[in-house]
Amino acid sequence: MKIQRLMMPLLLVVLVVALALPTVALGQKGANANRAISIDGSTTVGPIAKAFKDYYERSHPGVNITVSESGSGNGAKSLRNGVCDIAIMSRCMKAGEFKAAGEAGFQPVAHVVALDAIAVIVHPANPISELSMTQLKDIYSGKITNWRQLGGPNMDIVVIGRETNSGTFASFQELVMGGGNVKSDSESVGSNGAARQRVQSTKAAIAYVGLGFVDRKVKALSINGVEASPETVQSGDYPIARPLYMFTNGFPKLGTDLHRFATLHLTEKGQEIVESIGFVPVTRYK
């Protein structure tokens, strides 16, 4: 049959390609595949982890690092299951998570890699440049719905929140909302980048993002008269700030790649990285 004669070469081609691709992959990898560090957790700490990964892989060739941004809770779970070496989290582990890890024979150790302020951002066209904590809370709980109520133009406020799965949401909930809930008709977006994007494209919008995500296209508001900046975060004046964590199982064995990676934020280079992607270093040598 003609078809079958055609099929055979086709099958052969598919087979050859199927075998060739992984071989290429093997060739690229080399023998150091076992020097791997896997990281899982928050999208907020993701940029730090990815920048660290990039720096570390360049300065220590042969180390393979994967970063999986699947949420803080997933990070804690992966650490407990022993499948990631580092859980990056934008909140501290909860008691239940510590307990579960302990029962599974793990001992989570927290490394605070950076400080992060949650900046409240609006479109630069918005004349408002300052809010008080109460006003902010009122906006998010639905008591204030128009910019006019805050002395701005007569436009309905488009409230952008974050998906409840993010650590940023949890921190915002805790630091700003206190006892109340965010109103349910607020839009929620999946990430800091998306929140900034929404504000950039919507003049009446307000959103909250990690300080590292504030750029020229959006305006960060002062809260209670305090501007969001590395200095005010470090001094503790800016009210909506929090530490960002990396959790390892026990303190990593000294001298291993994991140890060097988990303490990278304490080195000068590490601080520089943290700073250059917009977060606030924990310590300052300068």
Partner: protein, 450 residues
Amino acid sequence: MNLASRRMMDRSFTVLGILSILVMAGALLCLLGPIVIRGVNAFVFRATVEHRQMLAEKYGVGDREAVKRELAQAEQHRTKIYRMISAYEASLEDESYAMRREMGGELDELKDRLRDLLGPFPGDPDPILMREQYGETRWDRALVVKDEVIFREEYDYSDPSAMGVLVHVPRADTFEGTSLAPLFPYLENHLSDILRPRWTFYWRFFTTESYDAHFFGGIWPEILGTFYLTVGAILFAVPFGVISAIYLVEYANPKNPLVALIRTCISTLAGVPSIVFGLFGLAFFINELHVSESKSVLAGSLTLAVLILPLVIRAAEEAIRAVPKTYKEAALSLGAGRWRTICTVILPAAMPGVLTGIVISMGRAAGETAPIIFTAAVSAGGVVALGETLSQPTPALPWNIYNICSEHEAVNEIRHVQYGMVFTLVFLVLLLNSTAIWLRARIAKRLRGA
């Protein structure tokens, strides 16, 4: 109704029908147009000298000497800019404190924008992030950044009852009368000398790993991950699918209630929303069976295999049914057993049809995102070797498209990579599907000929 009206109605019915088909075609065009045009732009674009320098330094490709020569030529034009700036800085020293403070801020802002365009100034410490080590690598982005150098975006809040209005203030106004004023026209006129754009076919986009979270480099790990997941899913689904199809066509008694139940189950499986497969994969393959400790290519492949199994069964069933009865009867009358008939006569004859089904299912598996979110995909990772597929998660095209267009920290700056990824995925899937269409056409031709 009179005849003319009825004819009119008939015509308009035809027109409506053709219109709705045109709407479909239009929707397809609107969808594929931007994806193809801007997707191709991800790897065919005007690359600046910064791009060539980055390639030479980080990937070790290209003619180093030529790049150096080109850089030297570009440098001639750049030094003029740098000189203007340092001259102005020097002249600021003599100004009053207030003036120094005011203009210093403006100058710093200008320098930052220039760094975006040209990379670090001579004498700057080497930036730690790769995205800051080079200027704009793409000419289209460079034109955007150039506008940011030349104009300052300001908002006019004079009307308190409305939002501010965007005004582009030329920076040249700010620095009017100073030694910096000629910088702006110079930059405008000599930008192509400074960045030396050249049309480039950047095929390494498909074969290299990315640097600095997709700011530079390519999407090879994602392509490979998609490949692993797809092939893995096919490896698991095809044996089960084809055997089930053989059973359902050749052995099963259609009146048997068990068989009817099996059929219902399979068709239900086909209708399950893909996100539910994801949850099932997490709960069953990872949490229950522990095929791997956490996300892995294996778990993802298995989940995708469950998803495409009904497709494979259905396609194989149809293909086997389409084999003419006479083939089977001839084989049986020659004394071949049932199993032998199936293996030597029916399956080979049904092979093209089965293959078509497999190829279409591959397309489906390659494009599915929801099932691999919880079972296989990571947002940043390198190439996974074949041996690690049992335990390691992998980046994959569909998930990383989602990730870099809605979770990445610099969504706007890497738009071209997003389009490139979408283009690659759509291209791969359509390639698989057109293979299937081609196969089917061959079968149709053969059947007509027979």
